[in-house]
């Protein structure tokens, strides 16, 4: 391809100059002819016809050129037509370059999409496939020429169908590749590019198995440990009952053994609770939980636990309760309050509040305890995570309380937030969504 220099204004003016010279030449020929033959009219008519004929010829030639989409520039003619030809070829050249660049970029994006390890499928507004990448071909058995089919027609797994119908694309969905396949996939739809959707499917078999192994291990191990521990505990209690008949050296060790075995039993019970919650699935139970009454009972228990060492203030500002699981919510409240008591020095103050905000129902425990350093806060709900190992053990915690709290709250779509300052105190706030709110009067009217 011959490169064409951009039309500069200098050339343009020279081309008009050329044109003027051409017209001038024609006129002088006409003058000479007229002078010789004295047929002035005919001479000027011939010159004019020549000029018109040339213009008509180039006009048709140019039209042909545009129609045939010729990309190779032919020689630019003399005069103003030269300008027109130059401008046209330059435009064609630029278009061609632009097209080439676009094609290159598109190809680059396609290649990148094909290298992605997860299956990417582009869907249009009606959830029909537009294109699929290589991973989608190898992972799901889709083909490039599946374009135009509805994705639900090719992925007919129940979970996927349900997900596509629900159109709640904030969530992701997990499913098995096929009836007999052990490969677990996770799919998520992301809206993009003005009414298009990108369906991203990744193989989560390994992660899924790992999570399953962890859950199974905790459940099995704690279950298996419980029986031997009960035997040990039983005999220890028996021996402690008749401690007088034993050599006095043994009474100390026996008491300690008993304490430790009780502690171990607590841990195992908590682990079992945790794996039970995990196994239950996400459906919410529809019990009515009368939170104010529950908190009043809790106040009595908390005072016993504190044994007069702390000042406890219970502010029950809302009369409303919640829809949820009674036992589970009770253990959330007890865990948070007993944590506050455990980590607040003597004479400290603890406020427990139950109130409603425009967005949520809130349960809040605020203490003037030792506080938690910033780096520990995100990890508080991990199993067996301890801020200060020695201190927590001495206070008899199992390290599982907040993990249990977190799981129960997830089941209730509630949010736990922790605000804390070292040496000043901590606030644990639980926000329940308002659609879980249920008041005693609602209950009465539904009964009658």
């Amino acid at each position: 391809m011959i490169s064409i220099k951009p039309v500069s204004s200098l050339e343009k003016s020279s081309r008009i100059f050329e044109e003027l010279i051409g017209v001038g030449a024609l006129l002088s020929i006409a003058l000479i002819l007229g002078g010789i033959t004295a047929l002035w009219g005919l001479a000027f008519f011939v010159a004019f016809s020549l000029y018109l004929g040339r213009n008509l010829f180039y006009f048709l030639h140019f039209l042909n050129l545009v129609r045939s989409r010729a990309l190779e520039p032919s020689k630019a003619p003399f005069g103003v037509w030269g300008d027109i030809y130059d401008a046209y070829f330059e435009k064609v050249f630029q278009d061609k370059r632009k097209l080439k660049r676009l094609r290159l970029e598109t190809e680059q994006v396609y290649n990148a999409m094909n290298l992605l390890p997860d299956a990417h499928i582009s869907l249009n507004e009606k959830l029909q496939i537009e294109w699929v990448n290589n991973s989608a071909e190898s992972l799901l058995g889709l083909r490039q020429n599946d374009a135009g089919h509805r994705i639900g027609n090719l992925l007919r797994q129940r979970e996927v169908t349900h997900y596509l119908e629900e159109k709640n694309f904030d969530k992701s969905v997990e499913f098995y590749l096929s009836a007999e396949s052990t490969r677990r996939l996770s799919a998520k739809i992301v809206p993009y590019f003005d009414k298009h959707y990108l369906l991203i499917i990744r193989d989560i078999t390994d992660a899924h198995n790992l999570a399953q192994i962890r859950r199974d291990f905790v459940a099995n191990a704690s279950h298996e440990l419980r029986t031997p521990l009960t035997v040990l505990n039983g005999y220890l209690e028996l021996m402690l009952d008749s401690v007088e008949s034993l050599p006095p050296v043994w009474s100390g060790p026996l008491t300690q053994m008993h304490q430790q075995s009780l502690r171990m039993q607590n841990i195992i019970n908590d682990l079992l609770t945790l794996s039970n919650i995990e196994a239950e699935g996400t459906e919410l139970e529809q019990d009515f939980v009368d939170v104010p009454i529950m908190l009043r009972k809790l106040e009595v228990e908390a005072n016993q636990l504190s044994n007069g060492h702390h000042q406890l203030h219970f502010h029950i500002e809302s009369k409303d309760g919640l829809v949820g699981k009674t036992e589970a919510l009770r253990s959330v409240f007890i865990n948070l309050v007993s944590n506050a008591i455990r980590y607040t020095p003597e004479q400290g103050e603890i406020w427990v509040r139950w109130y409603q905000t425009p967005q949520s129902m809130v349960f809040e425990v605020k203490d003037t305890g030792i506080g938690i350093a910033r780096e520990h806060i995100p990890r508080l709900t991990e199993r067996f995570y301890r801020v200060d190992t020695a201190r927590s053990r001495s206070s008899g915690g199992t390290g599982l309380g907040l993990a249990i709290v977190k799981h129960i709250l997830e089941r209730h779509q509630a949010k736990l937030s922790v605000y804390s300052r070292l040496q000043v105190g901590s606030t644990f706030r639980v926000e329940f969504p308002l659609y879980l709110k249920k008041s005693v009067t609602d209950l009465d009217s539904s009964l009658s």
Binding site: R143, H149, G152, N153, L154, R156, R158, A179, E180
Partner: protein, 245 residues
């Protein structure tokens, strides 16, 4: 016929009706797939709860069939389809009937599980025939999946593969029946169990027959050729020509 043709009509509602019909068949197919999968699981685990779920699903399947009929009648009455559109309507009606029959056969397989659960009889599960039942119904499930994929993609070689697979299943079925017959001769105690097994095996084999029918409907839909009642040689040649395409 290819998929572009749905959007080729001048009338937008016509396109939409055909598209609806197509999607409805696949929805029904997905439902039967799920029913069959549940049934296979119920046989494998001798789980009566799953078997009951299969029977529940059958009601949905029956309702879907009526819906497909309604859609077909709508297109027939309003648009007077011709050529590939008419073939789509004809095969839709056929496929719907096949799927519905499949649903009924699947219920029969689950009936075995329920009956055995009532008797509390575990011997039956140890019979060779029981294992072959699982084998045949698993194959039926894969065939159903493949034939639905072939229908979605209007893929002739996929349909041909299903038809060939059906022949293999026929052989498997013959072997299973032979073994069950042998057992009949030697034992007198578990007659009921064997009888149920025969019913279930027969039902599983019928499911693969229906899958084959659907594959034939797909061939008819795509190139208009009717391949029922072909003799073996003709069929083999024909299948070869489909796979080559």
């Amino acid at each position: 016929m290819n998929r572009k043709e749905f959007s080729s009509h001048v009338s937008a509602s016509y396109n939409l009706y055909l598209e609806d019909l197509f999607n409805q068949i696949l929805e029904m197919g997905g439902l039967v797939e799920r029913q069959l999968q549940t049934s296979v699981l119920s046989v494998q685990n001798a789980d009566a709860e799953l078997a009951k779920e299969v029977i529940q699903l059958d009601k949905l399947v029956n309702r879907e069939e009526m819906e497909i009929d309604r859609l077909c009648v709508r297109v027939l009455a309003r648009q007077q389809p011709t050529a590939s559109d008419l073939r789509l309507i004809v095969s839709a009606i056929r496929i719907a009937v096949d799927l519905e029959r499949m649903g009924d056969e699947i219920v029969k397989i689950s009936g075995l599980v329920l009956r055995l659960a009532d008797r509390g009889d575990l011997d039956c599960q140890n019979l060779q025939g029981y294992k072959q039942l699982v084998e045949i119904s698993s194959r039926a499930r894969d065939m159903l999946k493949n034939v639905l994929d072939a229908f979605t993609r209007l893929d002739l070689s996929g349909a041909a593969a299903v038809i060939e697979e059906e022949e293999h299943v026929d052989d498997l079925f013959a072997v299973a029946m032979e073994e069950v017959t042998e057992r009949f001769k030697e034992s007198h105690n578990d007659i009921e169990c064997l009888l149920q097994l025969v019913y279930a095996l027969r039902a599983a084999e019928r499911i693969t027959d229906h899958a084959r029918n659907i594959a034939e409907s797909v061939v008819y839909l795509v190139n208009g050729q009717d391949m029922r009642n072909m003799n073996d040689d003709l069929l083999a040649d024909f299948l070869k020509s489909l796979t080559v395409n």
